[in-house]
Symmetry: D2
Subunit: 349 residues, 4 copies
Amino acid sequence: MSEGETLSAAVIGGSGFTGGELLRLLAGHPNFEIAQATSRSYDRKTVGSVHPNLRGVDLRFSDPADLESVDVLFAATPHGVSMGQIDTFFEHADTVVDLSADFRLNTVEQYDEWYDGHTASEYLDKSVYALPELTREELPGAELIAGGGCNATATILGLKPLFDAEILDGSEQIVVDVKVGSSEGGAGGGEASSHPERSGIVRPYAPISHRHEAEIEQFLGVSVSFTVHAVDMIRGASATCHVFPGAPVSKGDLWSAYRGSYEDEPFMRLVAGGGGVYRYPEPKAVAATNYGEVGFELDPSNKRIVVFSAIDNMMKGSAGQAIHGANIALGLEETAGLEFMGLHPVGAP
Amino acid sequence: MSEGETLSAAVIGGSGFTGGELLRLLAGHPNFEIAQATSRSYDRKTVGSVHPNLRGVDLRFSDPADLESVDVLFAATPHGVSMGQIDTFFEHADTVVDLSADFRLNTVEQYDEWYDGHTASEYLDKSVYALPELTREELPGAELIAGGGCNATATILGLKPLFDAEILDGSEQIVVDVKVGSSEGGAGGGEASSHPERSGIVRPYAPISHRHEAEIEQFLGVSVSFTVHAVDMIRGASATCHVFPGAPVSKGDLWSAYRGSYEDEPFMRLVAGGGGVYRYPEPKAVAATNYGEVGFELDPSNKRIVVFSAIDNMMKGSAGQAIHGANIALGLEETAGLEFMGLHPVGAP
Amino acid sequence: MSEGETLSAAVIGGSGFTGGELLRLLAGHPNFEIAQATSRSYDRKTVGSVHPNLRGVDLRFSDPADLESVDVLFAATPHGVSMGQIDTFFEHADTVVDLSADFRLNTVEQYDEWYDGHTASEYLDKSVYALPELTREELPGAELIAGGGCNATATILGLKPLFDAEILDGSEQIVVDVKVGSSEGGAGGGEASSHPERSGIVRPYAPISHRHEAEIEQFLGVSVSFTVHAVDMIRGASATCHVFPGAPVSKGDLWSAYRGSYEDEPFMRLVAGGGGVYRYPEPKAVAATNYGEVGFELDPSNKRIVVFSAIDNMMKGSAGQAIHGANIALGLEETAGLEFMGLHPVGAP
Amino acid sequence: MSEGETLSAAVIGGSGFTGGELLRLLAGHPNFEIAQATSRSYDRKTVGSVHPNLRGVDLRFSDPADLESVDVLFAATPHGVSMGQIDTFFEHADTVVDLSADFRLNTVEQYDEWYDGHTASEYLDKSVYALPELTREELPGAELIAGGGCNATATILGLKPLFDAEILDGSEQIVVDVKVGSSEGGAGGGEASSHPERSGIVRPYAPISHRHEAEIEQFLGVSVSFTVHAVDMIRGASATCHVFPGAPVSKGDLWSAYRGSYEDEPFMRLVAGGGGVYRYPEPKAVAATNYGEVGFELDPSNKRIVVFSAIDNMMKGSAGQAIHGANIALGLEETAGLEFMGLHPVGAP
């Protein structure tokens, strides 16, 4: 498309956290115009009545049964919803960006291993996974984009340079210990996510068998030992990867690897040591932004590399990444609408 | 100035919280270019080494002794510093925006009542107080701008419509009970602001005699009963004003008053009742933005009006308001660089 | 009863927050033995499966339909439940301690003004309100005890000395601005109390017309201007009372008043000024205890007294106060089971 | 000693967090009487002026130069202080309990590897490490007790049953990913621990080379891959151990191992799965108590055991464990003064 052209966009499932974040980003995006936001529960209510930051946006939710035709449709619905409506989506839009897990995996076998039966498996090999640092080449012109999962994104961003640089070959032991904020649980919340029960915790949330392992395995070609903890923040996902390379590695090797993978990436920052308060990646430093930070230390006595990776799960881990992917797919400026640089001080936030 | 022109700006005291917020806003502002950021303690360090959100900004702190000439100088130094350097500031800039209390009050008598002796009192009647909703008419062309204090701003924004509409005449009892976040204490921090002592508190921070009373009295012409509490948030100031009007007032009167004062204001929102989670103003709803929210309830049995006012103390309460004032003073688009609409969910943030 | 005797106790509604706190206190009390804890939802589950701190207590919830006979029955059910079962309660226990609002007010007229129709109003004038600092004389031998409401307790404790010392006579303007933690909302929680929406807030929770005003009015004989805010803590209620006495008052008068009312009280502490981090009452300083702290400042310019009062709403504001009242009613050591002195550092907690 | 006898106790370094916790526990202990609490900075101030929970304790700090003779001396001073005063300590007390790292390691070689030169190395082989679940047999009659480090304690408690049951033999890869609260940083605090910078974080605090590895290695005979993160809580340490046993292991094997090690331990609880909100060990569930919780999951696909271990670092991780050790050393009831069962809800706390 030509510079300055405006594309119409719809957000399906606009009352959830991810839907609200999409609306926020689209409202501030130079190339998109929000044509529709759907919500079954909040039909006809203003978007600002659910998302107080959108009080200045003149838009009301509409019923998901009344889809309008748009250039791009973003689906921010729970897992399993998009696969049932994907044909309808494509009747109303040329480009569909799905933020659920429905189209992230390549084969129905993979899907069935981690989720329940897929009902639109013919789309699986047509979708392009949107973790742009990994799949940038495949995105231009993509019609179905599957945004990467938040914890998978943090992990893949942390480990990818080690594979790119052949420091790892897939045979190594990799432990990934993840800490996430409460927004990962979505809006609404039950007892476990109520403030009295959820505040101040370090809670094993997915000790084993977290579904994002499937994405990590698909893209890195390696099975990781993956455990997720819930901690007291709202936004943010932090992955600490404990990696045991087969051959000796130096700090210089690591700097080369991470610089090699990310030095041209507009949203990746390398943070490893140095002075001050923020010496390694942490979610606070990227909160409210589409940036990812990665860093590392080398533990000589154990021949261990410790990799830290931090993102805002609502942004780089879902809505921001979806916009990033759409920008590339549609030939827009890659960073359009995603320039916000974050806050200091800020509470994660 | 003509649209699209770029002005050079300096930030004095760039390593503090307010200085960092100014740098963030200036870096994203279409009409400013940061020429210099000074910090005695962090001389030659990158701004990103102190403010992790500014890691992408290519700028190092310089010594405050080495001022460059700029179009606009923003001073984010502790109270008492600017008055000693104001002549130097004007040697290097045509426009000075001071965020401290040094030039907020009109007379040296007022200053001496609340602070210690003023050393540049000849500037007091030249400065324009920047709470644009109050002083917009005086700002164009102003050479010395004094940004309003955070708690004073929250209070004045909450009460002003009642005076505008002559619901209050200054003879009434007004209690203002304020709750603030930890960023008001500034960077560095001592024992009382350490995380173990500062978390989870409702702490009487200024039970009486808070200096911002002076600003409130100067602009509203009334002495208020003012008490400030520290609570567990980082950004945010919330003022609850308990007001006892002399004559009966209806909810309709209140709606008229608040709409009359703010309906054309780009940064003010009226939030009073309605459904959902966010029924009244609260800091979370405006966190990271330059918006202020005000709302009210009427307590018939007590002939009391309860007014709620919420701002982000770092933004509408200091750096954002300073940019807002500078935009108007310099003939720029009033909202330039201040369009960020906030986040949901967010932790205050 | 004689020293060392053990009384059997039941807790009705044992799976809620207040019920769990009662169970904790009773389990550690030298004179009580828990005979039964009821919960409709968790029938036959261990109390530790709901309250993780009670994992060491060998007790399972039973159905509330199967009441056993005990010496004392504590009812921690939602408002309106106890009044429907009060006859049944007395069939199974000689002493009933109700923690709801059902029996706090003296007359059905008062009740109807603030709640909906009372169905057991014949008990209203038989119950003794358990705010022992206020009603100690009436408690010995009481058969029906109504534990005071948390926010009313904080307020009454703060203001009572001013009435005792005749600094106030009931004709004055009194503004009470309360800040409370999330445990006041009870277990379970909906959207507004979910962690992403509830964290980091200063939220007008009851701008006007909070029902605890009824208790304050009943016991202090004065109508107060009452507003409650939710803030980011779990336990804790803090009342700031802005009081405007008719005649001049000195700090000495205030010290005399507060010492006069509380110097012999085992659970009251006077905290007003001094050095260090904790200069005034705050919930952190009394978290997890049955202590209440009160303090004050005098604002000469406004002829205002600012009173601060802080309690743990789960303890002094409900379960602790209920045990305290029961101790006195039953002739036990007043402080039995309530000696825990709190924690430092602690997060409110 | 005979039941009911009272021992005099001193706390050296009583104004720090650990010192305050010792004072709290001693004040509530049936067999100890606090004879002295020293603090250089707060000499002659009341202990309640520093620790607000101790306002009811009638005791003032004294100068550490004026030691009194006592039965037991607890030293809660920074690392390196006790070794310089150990002879003086023993001149004033028969039993010394040191909470620093000074006497935890057996040999000067071990000490020098992790800390700087030891100046009282002749005491190293006389001290008994107080992690009673590990060293109970050696504690009775011990004259010098070295309380275990908080993060080491959490880790050792989690892993010990796997060694006891010979599921591990020391040749396996063990990754320990620890999350800790802000009280581990001690009182006072600098910029990194200020509330605005410390709230809402997941911060790599000791990516590699944490000194507690030395204790783990000494007692488990294995080198672990150890990384510590700071998260947003005040009290609490949580260790997640990712363990890769050499031979296949079943869940039954794990239950047997953990039950075998801990079923008779008064302060250990096994929490693995089940329903409700609290399915695995977490710091909230043991906050303010001397309990440790351990639990596990088995990850078949990776032949990985994930072990979770949670303690309150101020209690089981320091002051509580010191009292526990002293109780055993002195022939007191093992659980005396440590019976507090914790709180629900609570904020970690």
